[in-house]
């Protein structure tokens, strides 16, 4: 398991404590009741803190699985830091 993936598992466990750690990589809005419009903001906030990235909430509708989240975080971590006016 990559470092990013293992840290992301921890983020999911914090945001969605009812999901067993073993099931986190299969998590999606369909399998996790708390993954609603508010729950996913909580998840994004935890991920922002963990990886020191600014989450683009406009992308949230597309990030509807653990794998999609992982790919997004990998891109953000690899990308050069940009100024983000207003944040």
């Amino acid at each position: 398991m990559s470092d990013i993936q293992s840290r992301l598992v921890v983020c999911f466990a914090i945001a969605f404590p009812e999901v067993p750690t073993s099931a986190v990589t299969d998590a999606s809005p369909e399998t996790v009741a708390a993954w609603d419009s508010i729950g996913v903001i909580a998840l994004a906030s935890v991920i922002e803190e963990e990886f020191a990235i600014a989450f683009d909430l406009e992308r949230l509708p597309d990030l509807n699985s653990f794998d999609a989240m992982r790919r997004y975080v990998e891109q953000q971590v690899a990308a050069p830091r940009r100024g983000d006016a207003g944040r």
Binding site: I41, A42, V46, G86, R87
Partner: protein
């Protein structure tokens, strides 16, 4: 606090804990403020399960109309300009032109009037914390950003009636804008992007600040009770033993104003009821001369006790704690010497040990920190009595300690001559703020360590089947004020007491014995059952029951009338009971 930590704190709440419900009025997506507010409260009510319930999105004010506030333990409101008129925010396109300004101001004024009317419905036993607008309004004003024009002033004036209304209500607390300004830069408050995408107005860090501020007002940390200060390099500049009494300074002329300001702050704390003591490795005669200087700001009579000798600082601190009869966790120690601070901190890990800094910036931070540590909601009559009552109690405590250690027992003669008078008030005990304050801050003589929110207390004191009595004491040395609270219910021929706290100021006067004797007499019962629970701090209460029972107390325990009076020492007080 990080957001992930806040979530974990909320998740760690005991699943079987009684709910502690907080109503949050917030016009934007509240997830962050809600989480931080809940986490900070959860930390302070560890045996409860905190749930922060937010009102409808976009209607912070209406939250207090639609929700039944009576079912909440506390209420919080995060008010922003957009709540007063949506055009002051960014999610509506109602117009920012000069022709709209008058209408915006009229609307804002009307909304504040409506809000005040709704908040008036919050019962006085439910605490309410309000954060007034912290974001800059949308660019509706036609002046440059450098100028505060008339419309901006008018807008600010709109919320003044809300503040004025809050002033007269003991359960309503307004977040200090200075506290927010100090912790959250204005430019880092608005999360403009997420405001547009998801209606999240506050950045995470600003949410953390506002959430913590609201929690601090709804569930304030118990204020510290005493401050122990060093002298050389702390209360004054210079080493008095080296430079002499006239060589130490605390004024502007001698570049030592920080020390004068520190003394001024200590005087203010002392007048608010904070205990002030001195611990200094010094020559007592020289220190006495320094305190006799006419320009000394901190008068000697405000200090008790004064530990000045060449022994270790931790020895002085131990003797001061003994004289005050308070735990180390309720005390702050201030010294300029890192070595002395480390020695005291090692001896008393739970004590707040603060360095007296060299520079003005750090000194200012220390002054505000001390205000935070000793800050209280109200200053009662008992606060002013504390120091003198401890001073007068010193001979009694010394006598009591001597008796325990098998020495000369002159306690009885001291008590006989003290002219002690104990007053029991069954009539107003439940409604005076001092009762709940005493219940929630007393550790040593506390039956079970149970704490009560304002709402819990309202439930306890308004239950017709229960009694609550407050106990006051005075003697020839002066009054101690209200020093104990007892509560419970009559069940057949037995009395159940599930609440009993007594201030450490009343120790060694046999007020606890008098209290039990009075309960037996007033209720005419043969047995009193105490809902006792040992805590890490209630050893004085355990010692009392051990003496009364002849054995260590268990939970729960019953005390029979005959057994109690067989072990009860002579009581010399006069007694009054107000029904």
């Amino acid at each position: 606090m990080r957001f992930a930590e806040a979530l974990k704190i909320l998740q760690s709440a005991p699943t079987d804990g009684a709910p502690f419900k907080v109503l949050l009025g917030c016009g934007f997506t509240p997830i962050h403020v809600q989480t931080f507010l809940g986490a900070h409260i959860q930390r302070r009510v560890r045996d409860r399960r905190v749930r922060v319930i937010a009102g409808a999105y976009g209607d912070a004010i209406g939250t207090f109309d639609r929700q039944d506030v009576d079912q909440f333990a506390a209420c919080a409101l995060v008010l922003e300009w957009a709540d007063l008129d949506a055009r002051l925010g960014f999610r509506r396109l109602g117009g920012w032109g000069p022709g709209k300004l008058a209408d915006i101001l009229r609307g804002a004024e009307a909304q504040v009037a409506r809000l005040t009317e709704l908040l008036e419905r919050v019962p006085t036993h439910i605490p309410l914390a309000v954060s007034l607008p912290t974001l800059r309004p949308a660019p509706v004003f036609f002046q440059t950003g450098w100028e505060a024009g008339s419309a901006e002033f008018e807008l600010r004036r709109c919320v003044v009636p809300l503040s004025s209304w809050a002033v007269g209500r003991p359960n309503v607390h307004i977040v200090s804008p200075y506290a927010i300004d100090q912790r959250s830069a204005v430019s880092a408050r608005l999360d403009f992007k997420n405001e547009l995408v998801a209606g999240i107005s506050y950045t995470q860090s600003h949410s953390a600040t506002v959430g913590e501020a609201l929690a601090n007002l709804l569930q304030p940390v118990s204020p510290k009770k005493g401050l122990i200060t060093d002298l050389d390099g702390t209360l004054w500049r210079g080493i008095v033993g080296d430079v002499g009494v006239d060589g130490v300074f605390w004024d502007l002329d001698n570049q030592s104003q920080l020390h004068g300001l520190y003394q001024q702050l200590l005087v203010s704390l002392a007048e608010e009821g904070v205990l002030i003591a001195v611990a200094s490795r010094n020559n007592p005669a020289v220190v006495g001369e320094a305190f006799a200087r006419s320009d000394m700001v901190l008068r000697k009579d405000l200090v008790f006790p004064m530990e000045v000798h060449w022994n270790k600082k931790s020895d002085s601190v131990r003797r001061i704690l003994d004289a005050w009869n308070v735990g180390a966790e309720a005390v702050v120690f201030v010294d300029d010497s890192p070595m002395e601070l480390a020695e005291v901190q090692t001896a008393y890990p739970e004590m707040e040990c603060l360095p007296f800094p060299e520079g003005p910036g750090d000194a200012l931070a220390l002054f505000y920190r001390l205000r935070d540590l000793f800050g209280r909601d109200r200053i009662g009559a008992e606060d002013a009595l504390r120091r003198e009552s401890l001073r007068s109690a010193a001979p009694l405590r010394a006598s009591s300690n001597a008796t325990e250690q098998g020495g000369e027992a002159n306690t009885d003669s001291l008590l006989r001559e003290a002219e002690g008078a104990v007053a029991f008030d069954f009539r107003t005990a439940g409604t005076t703020p001092r009762s709940l304050e005493l219940v929630n801050k007393t550790n040593q003589f506390n039956l079970n360590g149970r704490r009560y929110s304002d709402a819990d207390w309202h439930g306890v004191t308004s239950d017709a089947g229960r009694f609550v009595v407050s106990v006051s004491y005075k003697d020839k040395f002066g009054p101690l004020g209200t020093i104990a609270v007892i509560g419970g219910e009559l069940a057949g021929t037995s009395l159940l007491v599930d609440l009993w706290v007594m201030s450490c100021r009343a120790f060694a006067r046999r007020v606890e014995h008098r209290s039990v004797a009075t309960l037996f007499e007033r209720f005419g019962v043969d047995t009193i059952t105490f809902d006792y629970a040992p805590t890490t701090r209630n050893e004085p209460l355990q010692k009392f029951f051990t003496a009364v029972l002849g054995t260590s107390p268990t939970a729960p325990m019953s005390v029979s009338r005959d057994g109690f009076f067989a072990h009860c020492p002579p009581l010399y007080h006069s007694v009054t009971v107000d029904e």
